[in-house]
């Protein structure tokens, strides 16, 4: 120990073990002994101790929850960034065009940020129309959140999930980005396939319902199909061989192992109880009130309807393969031509003059 030769307060302050003792009280007995044996250092020790106490120690600038949220956001932004540079792999002429477009998008993004400091909304993908910037949604609540898309599709975003989608989809395809878990009900449109991008894979459908679990901190991405046919493939990395394409049928699921960049063999999967997949939405002679309350619990929405007017209304219908908006439309049309609905956020308002 050369501690006996210390002559300045700073030497003590810079001694990690000394600091440790002052801040945490570690090895108190040892230090008490040392001070007793080195009485001439008492004043230095005392001053250094006061100084360290006055300086304090590192206070964390964020809680664990805030840190994880920031981590999620960072992955999200990395993902956006990686996507934005993809067009550069195209032929030279296209590179120039893409660069100009990217610059314009970047400038728009930057200017918009100037006007709204603190918020960041995902930047639009090259495929989207210029000027129709993406909407970014982060479900920071503890309950699933319903998202209605412009094309009538419904997405139920689980807590912690993030979704970005354009205000208006491109003419040839509908593209969204997901991180976290969500259940999709996609309105049918053969001309405009629907694509869901996650970090590692892209899931393509025409019109169907399926669930994707793509949490950033999980080793696997899982896609589970409820109805229809779903194509899943790896997002291609720079000029690699053709991406593996997996076709899934109803009640099948596939896992993508991130560390191996491989899909596992698709398997039939038991439908998780209580999940929306479990509900078949087949009603025979059911009171309208029962149908509405089933929809309410499945989608986490509230439905306001005139109880008195609809008390004696019964319906038989099968709604399993439809997004929420279509379901509501079918139910309302089935009740009577004098029945309409509108959505305000997670709130559905049904107006009716009674049933046929």
């Amino acid at each position: 120990m050369q501690r006996e030769s210390y002559t300045t307060v700073t030497q003590f302050c810079d001694d990690p073990l000394f600091r440790d003792w002052v801040i945490t009280g570690r090895d108190h007995a040892g230090w008490a002994q040392w001070i007793e044996a080195n009485a001439d250092k008492q004043r230095l020790v005392q001053e250094a101790r006061y100084l360290i106490l006055a300086i304090g120690s590192e206070a964390p600038g964020a809680t664990a929850g805030e840190t994880d949220q920031a981590l999620e956001e960072t992955w999200w932004r990395i993902h956006e960034q990686e996507h934005r540079v993809r067009p550069l792999a195209l032929a030279r002429w296209w590179r120039v065009a893409a660069a100009v477009l990217l610059f314009a998008l970047g400038l728009g993004w930057y200017v918009s940020r100037l006007h709204s400091p603190g918020t960041h909304i995902a930047v639009s993908q090259p495929a989207a129309l210029p000027g129709s910037r993406d909407i970014g949604i982060f479900n920071d609540s503890k309950v699933p959140r319903l998202v209605n898309l412009e094309d009538g599709s419904t997405i139920i975003l689980q807590p912690g999930g993030k979704l970005s989608y354009p205000r208006k989809f491109a003419a040839q395809k509908r593209e969204v980005h997901l991180s976290g878990e969500a259940f999709f009900e996609i309105s049918k449109n053969r001309q405009r396939p629907f694509l869901v991008y996650t970090n590692d894979i892209v899931t393509e459908v025409v019109g169907t319902s399926f669930r994707i679990k793509a949490a950033d901190d999980q080793p696997e991405v899982e896609v589970f199909v409820k109805t229809g046919e779903v194509h899943v493939r790896q997002i291609q990395s720079k000029g690699s061989k053709a991406a593996e394409n997996v076709v899934l049928l109803p009640n099948q699921s596939v896992s993508y192992v991130k560390s191996l960049s491989l899909f596992e063999k698709p398997e039939n999967k038991d439908i998780p109880k209580r999940a929306i997949e479990y509900l078949n939405f087949d009603f025979s002679d059911a009171p309208v009130g029962t149908i509405f309350s089933t929809l309410e619990s499945a989608y986490g929405v509230t439905i306001d309807y005139p109880h008195d007017v609809l008390r004696d209304c019964y319906l038989s219908t099968s709604l399993s393969d439809e997004p929420l908006l279509s379901k509501l439309k079918i139910v309302c049309e089935s009740i009577s031509s004098g029945t309409q609905f509108r959505m305000e956020g997670n709130h559905v308002i049904v107006e009716s003059t009674g049933c046929n």
Binding site: V9, T10, C13, D14, R19, V22, I23, G25, E47, Y50, L51, I52, L53, A54, I55, G56, S57, E58, A59, P60, G61, A62, T63, A64, T67, D68, A70, L71, E73, T74, R77, I78, Q81, E82, L114, P117, G118, T119, H120, D216, D217, K258
Partner: protein, 197 residues
């Protein structure tokens, strides 16, 4: 999930091999400290958070080209500082604003009350703390980097873009000033005691 006890350099190597878990570990380890530092450089806390995220984004996006830094902590702190400075500079140009204090170190030291048991210590520490918080911004920043972030003189110098001698001077001048004023007050107190008792 990778082991949070791994040394930074090893985490960094894993990240270069696309290990997302290692990235998560590194993020969790340093985000709170970096955000704390960022917030002491600007009152705009959203900006601070943004710059910390961008510093981390860069690590992942350019992981293949980045060399393993000698000190990951110093590397990250420097990244945050540089980004905030750049953004504030850009804001000044674009908005023609002149927030004189922006970008200057505004951190206030808080005494470690939980380690103080007697009144005399509390009084002395309080007094020192007041003096510390009155030091010029750059001296406070050097002290913060030395004693809160555990950086050595060379790292502080590189981060503050000064030579090591200047960094050392900043630290010593700060402590010297405090001790002079403080010791002075202790003497006055001793004199008073002599007169009255």
């Amino acid at each position: 999930m990778s082991d949070s006890t791994l040394p930074d350099s090893q985490l960094w190597c894993l990240i270069k091999d696309d290990d997302q878990a290692a990235y998560t570990t590194l993020f969790r380890k340093y985000y709170p400290a970096l955000l704390g530092y960022g917030k002491s450089l600007t009152d705009h806390h959203g900006l601070a958070g943004d710059c910390v995220q961008e510093t981390f984004m860069e690590i992942w996006l350019y992981r293949r080209n980045l060399a393993v830094p000698d000190s990951v902590r110093a590397y990250l702190l420097a990244g945050v500082r540089r980004r905030i400075a750049r953004r504030l500079e850009r804001d000044r140009i674009f908005r023609h604003s002149r927030d004189i204090g922006e970008g200057e170190f505004s951190f206030q030291f808080t005494p470690l009350d939980e380690m103080i048991s007697d009144e005399e210590t509390r009084r002395q520490v309080q007094q020192l703390n007041t003096l510390l918080n009155q030091l010029p911004a750059r001296q406070r920043e050097a002290l913060y980097l030395r004693y809160h972030q555990q950086l050595d003189i060379d790292e502080i110098a590189r981060l503050m873009q000064i030579n090591p001698q200047s960094a050392s001077n900043l630290l010593h001048r700060g402590i010297k000033h405090i001790r002079e004023v403080w010791v002075g007050e202790m003497h006055t107190l001793a004199l008073l005691l002599c007169v009255y008792f």
